[in-house]
Subunit: 118 residues, 2 copies
Amino acid sequence: MDCGDLFNPDCPTRLVLDRIADKWTVMLLVLLSQGPMRFSALKRATGISQKVLAQTLKRLERDGFASRAVFPTVPVTVEYLITPLGADLAQTLEGLRLWSERHIGAVLAAQRDYDAAA
Amino acid sequence: MDCGDLFNPDCPTRLVLDRIADKWTVMLLVLLSQGPMRFSALKRATGISQKVLAQTLKRLERDGFASRAVFPTVPVTVEYLITPLGADLAQTLEGLRLWSERHIGAVLAAQRDYDAAA
DNA sequence: GATGTTGGTTACCTTGGGAAACCAGATAGT
DNA sequence: ACTATCTGGTTTCCCAAGGTAACCAACATC
């Protein structure tokens, strides 16, 4: 697991982590990778606040991970779609999902042990 | 990429994301997976503040991802080591590191395009 | 006994996320 | 005409997470 230079703040891994390692970005990425979704559907699905959802979607669009499609219905319909780049990233995060399902028990057990010792 | 139910807040993926999807946890996990490291070395390597480093390491320990070894030298030496569980998680994140090195250019290009359009 | 070293903890301040209200644009109901 | 309603936001205000800097304990050295 050599990063070339993880100590360097311009290391690609650090740059990518700075973009996606927050509370909601990864979850939105995974949701959108399952299919297009409207703003309100994403809000309902995640429980994220409207403000931060708008912010986070803007960043996803800026980074080239998602795109916005506006349909002039009434009321207006806005759909968010994953891009090929975003889909590729979501695919590599699939491993994390599998890991979570396999090891969540071990994590929760570790937490219980740690809390019991204190 | 079916999560069973990513809409459910108790979905394993969401629980794991809640633990590791913050500014520093993933980077510390990757660093420790390369070998044991002392507190001050982690601080220098990441640029993280002392307070948040201590906090984050405590959480890593609680979640069973890292362990703390204190050597009664003078001044005291404290080493942080990755656990098998943490190493396993870091291994699945290796895919993310590879993805970053391959696609960071596309991300930065997308950002440039987006900013130019505005 | 002042100084330096490591690994923290404790103020203090600044930034980011959450809750709720408001807004635009257009239609439906009364 | 007027109010209500729907979507997709933005604005306002508040609180929590993170950063800065100072301090502390336990020694060892000068």
